[in-house]
Amino acid sequence: LAKTTQPISMDSYEGQEVNITCSHNNIATNDYITWYQQFPSQGPRFIIQGYKTKVTNEVASLFIPADRKSSTLSLPRVSLSDTAVYYCLVGRGGYGSSNTGKLIFGQGTTLQVKP
């Protein structure tokens, strides 16, 4: 599984767009990029997955440049309820897992949204 590097923490204000970048220089050809969100006292929740270019769903957008060595999770118009830890995972098994289904979590990015 490719090693990932994210900022430890970020602060934002309600209504702003937040972009969290993840570096994964050793990403392999067959690897997908996946992001999870973890609220306090809850397990992680799958947000979005992509392979290249741009993916958008009702929660977020994921931007992946052509070299795929990094990715950016974009949260539009955040609210206080978006305060959480965001994890970037890279793996070929889908949804951030290895081909045996394991998820290897890095330290994640703690996003604090302020009023």
């Binding site: 992680p44 929740r45 949804y95 897992s97 330290q107």
Partner: protein, 113 residues
């Protein structure tokens, strides 16, 4: 998406005792995963549990300390044995969701005193 019921949600235990954590899934799944999240830390995989075979443990985790049962395709237990304060963590189970991603239980917050 899959729904996981995890019990207990929290417990305070005396050192030297054992606690068994249960996870019930509302659908049949091949693999179930157990994770530990120490205070302020990320998640670490403890083991993978397949029905009908022994669990596969990650480096640093052993069966004597964390025995796992997987009696059928919807249920698994993790026991934390001979507990010490260092075992105070959140323990979570997870399964691959047929609709996408991995679903996690709500976690068991364990405090060992």
């Amino acid at each position: 998406s899959a729904v996981i019921s995890q019990k207990p949600s929290r417990d305070i235990c005396q050192r030297g005792t054992s606690l068994t954590i249960q996870c019930q899934v509302d659908s049949q799944v091949t693999m179930m995963f157990w994770y530990r999240q120490q205070p302020g830390q990320s998640l670490t995989l403890i083991a993978t549990a397949n029905q009908g075979s022994e669990a596969t443990y990650e480096s640093g985790f052993v069966i004597d300390k964390f025995p796992i049962s997987r009696p059928n395709l919807t249920f698994s237990t993790l026991t934390v044995s001979n507990m010490s304060p260092e075992d105070s963590s959140i323990y979570l189970c997870s399964v691959e969701d047929p609709t996408g991603g991995y679903t996690f239980g709500s976690g068991t917050r364990l405090t060992v005193v």
